[in-house]
Structures are given as structure tokens and as C-alpha cells.
Symmetry: C2
């Protein structure tokens, strides 16, 4: 055996969950689905933060410090992310037109292709979601709607709320 991997636990009393946990579960589930499809599309080497970085670098690139601010991390962390993406061919560091010590981090074609694919996947996911019975949520049924969103497509038990914090 592989020791013990993080395996699902819970049941289907999703309706009784606190709204906050429901929200987290829905987010985690949707993000996982998105990531899975992204991996199927050949982007298994990119984490969500990389996609966010791509968006932060549109349309004309940005400096490392600016990227750091937009991502909400230190510039050192942003620098590491850029190193990583540069190594993989998703961004380039070019001399900054405004000079100084600055460098302009710009997206390569590969990154733009990724953005296009990711956008399509996101819209597809959203459409699937609104097509579900609970797409419409009247005043008191928001909870039910979110519960439906958090429910596994295959009827499987919901995964644990991972310390996504």
C-alpha cells in the first residue's frame, strides 16, 4: 500500500453544512475539476497560481515587483514563480523600456495559448453549472444551489475540505 493517501470521507448531508464550508467545498471541487481538465489538456505542469500570474501579466507584461503586488506575495516569491515559468518557456524577461534596474516579464505564445484553453474550460464549466437543476436559486435556496455545486458530478461522496489555508 501507498501508506495512506488523503482519501475522501464524508457523506451527503451537504445541506446541513455551514454556508462557509459549503462555499469552500464548492470552490475546492470546481477548482479541482478545472485543474483536472487543464491537466488533460496538457497543462499538468501548471498550478493555479501560474494561471493567475499569466492573467496578471496581461496584456503588456509587468515587472517582478508589480507581479508580486498583483499576486499578493513578496517579490521574492514572485521572482521564483517567474524563474519557474521562464524555465518552462511561458514567460521571458526583457529589458524594461523605462530602464532602471527593471525587467519586463512578458508572456510567450505558449502562455497565450494556455490562457485561451483555460478560458474555454472555465466557460464550459460555468455553463455546465448553470445548466444544472440548481442553476436557478431563489431567495431561500442559495444554500441548495451551493450544495448542488459542491456535489460531486459522479454522485461520489464529497472530498474533505482540504486545508487550503
Amino acid at each position: 500500500m501507498h501508506q495512506e493517501a488523503p482519501t475522501p470521507p464524508a457523506t451527503a448531508e451537504l445541506e446541513k453544512l455551514e454556508l462557509l464550508f459549503l462555499l469552500g467545498l464548492a470552490f475546492q471541487l470546481l477548482l479541482g475539476e478545472f485543474n483536472g481538465r487543464l491537466a488533460d489538456a496538457g497543462y499538468g505542469d501548471l498550478r493555479p497560481v501560474h494561471g493567475l500570474a499569466f492573467q496578471a501579466l496581461r496584456p503588456a507584461g509587468a515587472t517582478g515587483s508589480e507581479l508580486a503586488r498583483r499576486l499578493g506575495v513578496t517579490k521574492q516569491a514572485a521572482g521564483q514563480i517567474v524563474d519557474d515559468l521562464e524555465r518552462r518557456g511561458y514567460v521571458r524577461r526583457e529589458p524594461h523600456p523605462a530602464g532602471g534596474r527593471r525587467k519586463l516579464v512578458v508572456l510567450t505564445e505558449a502562455a497565450h495559448r494556455h490562457l485561451a484553453v483555460a478560458g474555454d474550460l472555465l466557460h464550459g464549466l460555468e455553463n455546465e453549472l448553470t445548466a444544472r437543476p440548481a442553476g436557478r436559486a431563489d431567495p431561500g435556496r442559495r444554500r441548495a444551489g451551493l450544495a448542488a455545486a459542491a456535489r460531486e458530478p459522479g454522485g461520489a461522496p464529497p472530498p474533505p475540505l482540504r486545508p487550503v489555508w
Copy 2:
């Protein structure tokens, strides 16, 4: 200066965000608010995962391995969490009635008090949310509702979607 801390970036074009990011932002924001209030209530030493552990240990306790399964982590990680909580007086390790090598991890009174406070805070938050204009969401306005949820109470710019993954 404090170097640069993770400081907020973005603006108010919340409506244009992808649904998935909106969801993440809402979750992150609400969780942050919850944590803040919990800290104000004297529980600044507890992370969300601790609260989840408390819930997983209700009502009659559980073994470390069972807790690990419910939290979706390895039993070693669960063991560390229990060590931590035990040191702080929130749980006790008792001999397991079924014997064996098992130990029953049970909540102390302090943990039950925490659960009560946390529950009140969660319900308060939820009520505040449903009292907001966007509490009611008709079919096409789910996005607007979530955007409202993700909007900072004080009108401040939304924080970055932290790699909460």
C-alpha cells in the same frame, strides 16, 4: 520598512471575474472575516483546520487514524495536529474502550466552548450575508450575488486570490 507584505491589489470589476475566481474570492474573504472574529473572541491560536478537527471529533471522539481520514490527511499529520491541540488543552488522549493500540481523542470543555462560539459567529456571518441586497439571487443574478459576497464590507479593494492551494 517591513519589506513588502502581501498587500491588496485589484479594483472593482468584480463582475467580470470568472465564476470560479469569484467563488474563491468569496470563500477567502468570508473565511478571513470568520478567522478575524474568532481571533477577536480569543481564539487567535487556532487555524481553520483545528475547527474542522473539532467537528470531526464530535460527538464521542475518534482515533487518530479516523481523524486523519475525516480531514483527508495522513495519520502522521493528524497526529501532529492532535499533539498541538493537546498541548493547548483542547483535546485529550484517552485509552480506547475497544482496546488495542488505539487511543480515543476526545474534546475538552475548552473545545466545546470554541465550537459554540464559532457556530454563533458563522450564523451571524450568514445572517449578515443574507441581509445584504444581493441575498436574493434570481436565475441570472447568481454572479451578482457572489460578487456582492466577495466585496469587502468596508468598500475596500478585494484582496488578491491567495494561493490557498
